[in-house]
Symmetry: C2
Subunit: 404 residues, 2 copies
């Protein structure tokens, strides 16, 4: 398996585009994106567990009942959530896209991201769709990735090439994240495409099995979005024998999918709102997987630890504290903690108590852009990783006045 | 019932003091406090549910097995948590205090607050105790309240006078809060004294019944401390017929206790680390109490809403979002939300969708120091309140480099 360029257009038969249609006032910001498959594709999706759900989610659930889709349309600048006419607008969006693409409306996946509770006007979307469709191109992944950004500072694209049943397959994705990120089933808007042939039920199985260890292990601010959604389209154009059951091919596909999703998780977490650092909490030696995951997520969610990491302060007591209130049953007197980065590794806690360490060395390690928080529980062999970011002045600035 | 001055010394027979003994480097900061009852008192306590617990908690559980105590000693600047010799140090602290006060060591409640995981030296405490005991005074509540502060910016003292069985009784308390505040059984260090006569088991019942609606409904940063503790001492010197069972007197006592604890909650939340505003989320119309509490606490814990309140931004979509992911079963299409402060009230959401409102008026309301977030669920008659604060640049500053 190897990393390649191309994002959602890496796989055969996929084109994409992104334009400015006028939802955002800033004309230099793209606000409408489209991903299109030359042929109908198997489609699987997972959505937020928030009871308050964006209108597009209800529309997609209906559209994807048959496990097939051919296009994804997504706007930024408005979440189309908590709006009296939200469903109607989401249906109009997909109908307009379907007409322009000459496909069926229920083969369109629709998504929105931005402010909650402000009516979404269909007008700019309707007038933007012709140019959006006309501009579909094989190197359009970056434009599409740009069109779904809100407070994101970098485009998030990943793709890999792998072999399935003797055929070269590709899988790639784009994502937007930044704030209101504490996925519980899925994270805010991830679109993945592949030319592998895989039946819709197996695609759903692969996606549902993957996200519990990837997107559901990311937290930027503890706020589970109303619009979280991960969608995978598999158009089969690689020509492999379709994956219809568990086995070697399914495992290979899961592995390729996981390579893409883990990297997207790292991109999402590292570009959290206001973030200056990517944090990865790696828990090992847990009695079981759930314990490992609970501990890792609790550490990554601690506001106090996140602020300490911003300040490059090796305040490991906050790691212990977050483990202690996580709800997981652990023997706190066995816990070891270390911080690791490109600058080195420093053990700071052994058997639940502090060890002497050089504050200077710790500072050097924590000043890096990617920090690993290593937690060894010495109680078994289960392991888990969670991804997050530091808590900074900019998070407060961005969210102190997001709407204006 | 009326508010009076005096804090933990308001009730008959209680004296207190606070000194600088040398745990903190800054000599102008008091770091050791003592509360003393002239006679042995009924004593009830609740502690953090964090599995990582400060050493003083284990010592107190042993000391309070008999329901009696006569003094509370507490240092700031070091939490005595995750230290190999923590229990030993906590036992030395109480033994030294007991010797100086000529009481039994197991009648001393011991507490520590500050950094986790740095060994606590007994030396400054041992050398500070003589002056601490010598200076005990009837107007010493403020000094004691000061000695337990960490990043707190104001002393937190409350007292009320009430009548029980024809006798005038008083109850008062001091608290420290600020950061790592998301109580789950109790909050970081609250000491309450009363001269009411009440049996230890009834005192514990009153305290345990109260905190689920008061301290457990406060969150400053979602981090449940390792050292949370609420202790109540009742020395009976008011001369009322001892409260030994449920009934009118017990209800009256509960009511007085609640008046003190609610006010302490407001003081704790309003003085959260870096906070500029007190937030109170008042949920009404819930199907049951647990739903009301879950919703209120979820709203008050949302980093996004907290940042919006700092920016005086009426971003009610974040209130809906936090209700939606709270885990409570609510009908989101029935929810009304309004913001209220001394400057007025503004409805912003009705039936789960936005209503037209003046952004200017909303700004004026949200620029006040105390903001109420009113959530009406229209599904029953249960209600709950949760207390929190805004998320600010100063929270990041304080916690980005707390140890140095």
């Amino acid at each position: 398996m190897q990393r390649i360029e191309g994002g959602v257009c890496a796989a055969k038969g996929f084109t994409a585009n992104g334009v400015h249609c006028g939802i955002r006032k800033n004309k230099t910001k793209k606000d409408l994106s489209l991903i299109f498959s030359a042929v109908p594709a198997s489609c699987a999706a997972v959505y937020t567990t928030n009871l308050v759900k964006g209108a597009p989610l209800a529309v997609n659930k209906a559209h994807l009942a048959n496990g097939t889709a051919q296009a994804v349309i997504c706007n930024s600048g408005n979440a189309n959530t908590c709006n009296a006419n939200g469903i109607e607008i989401a249906e109009q969006m997909s109908a307009l896209a379907a007409d322009a693409l000459h496909i069926k409306a229920d083969d369109v996946v629709v998504a929105s991201t931005g402010v909650i509770g402000q009516p979404l006007d269909i007008e700019p979307i309707a007038s933007g769709i012709p140019a959006l469709v006309q501009g579909l191109k094989a190197d359009g992944s970056s434009d599409a990735a740009e069109g779904i950004m809100t407070t994101d500072t970098i485009k998030k694209e990943v793709a890999v090439e792998f072999t399935l049943g003797g055929k070269t397959c590709r899988i790639g994705g784009i994502a937007k994240g930044s704030g209101m990120i504490h996925p519980n089933m899925a994270t805010m808007l991830v679109f993945i495409t592949t030319d592998a042939a895989i039946a819709p039920d197996m695609l759903q199985k692969a996606l549902s099995g993957d996200i519990v260890n990837t997107f559901n292990m990311v937290s930027i601010d503890g706020d589970t979005s109303t619009n979280d959604m991960v969608v995978v389209l598999a158009n089969g154009m690689a020509g492999n024998a379709p994956v219809r059951e568990e086995g070697e091919d399914f495992s290979t596909f899961m592995c390729a999918l996981n390579t893409v999703t883990v990297q997207l998780c790292r991109l999402l977490a590292g570009d959290g709102e206001g973030a200056t650092k990517l944090l990865e909490c790696k828990v090992t030696g847990a009695a079981d997987l759930q314990t490992a995951k609970t501990v890792a997520k609790s550490v990554i969610c601690s506001s106090l630890l996140k602020a300490a990491m911003f300040g490059a302060d090796a305040n490991w007591g906050r790691v212990l504290c977050a483990i202690g209130y996580s709800g997981a049953q652990v023997d706190v007197d066995k816990i070891d903690v270390a911080f690791r980065s490109a600058a080195g590794t420093i053990p700071v806690c052994e058997n639940g108590a502090g060890v002497d360490f050089s504050e200077e060395t710790a500072k050097t390690i924590l000043l890096e852009k990617e920090i690993e928080i290593l937690v060894e529980l010495h109680s078994g062999s289960a392991a888990a990783t969670a991804w997050g970011c530091d808590l900074t002045y900019d998070y407060v600035r961005i969210n102190g006045d997001y709407r204006t």
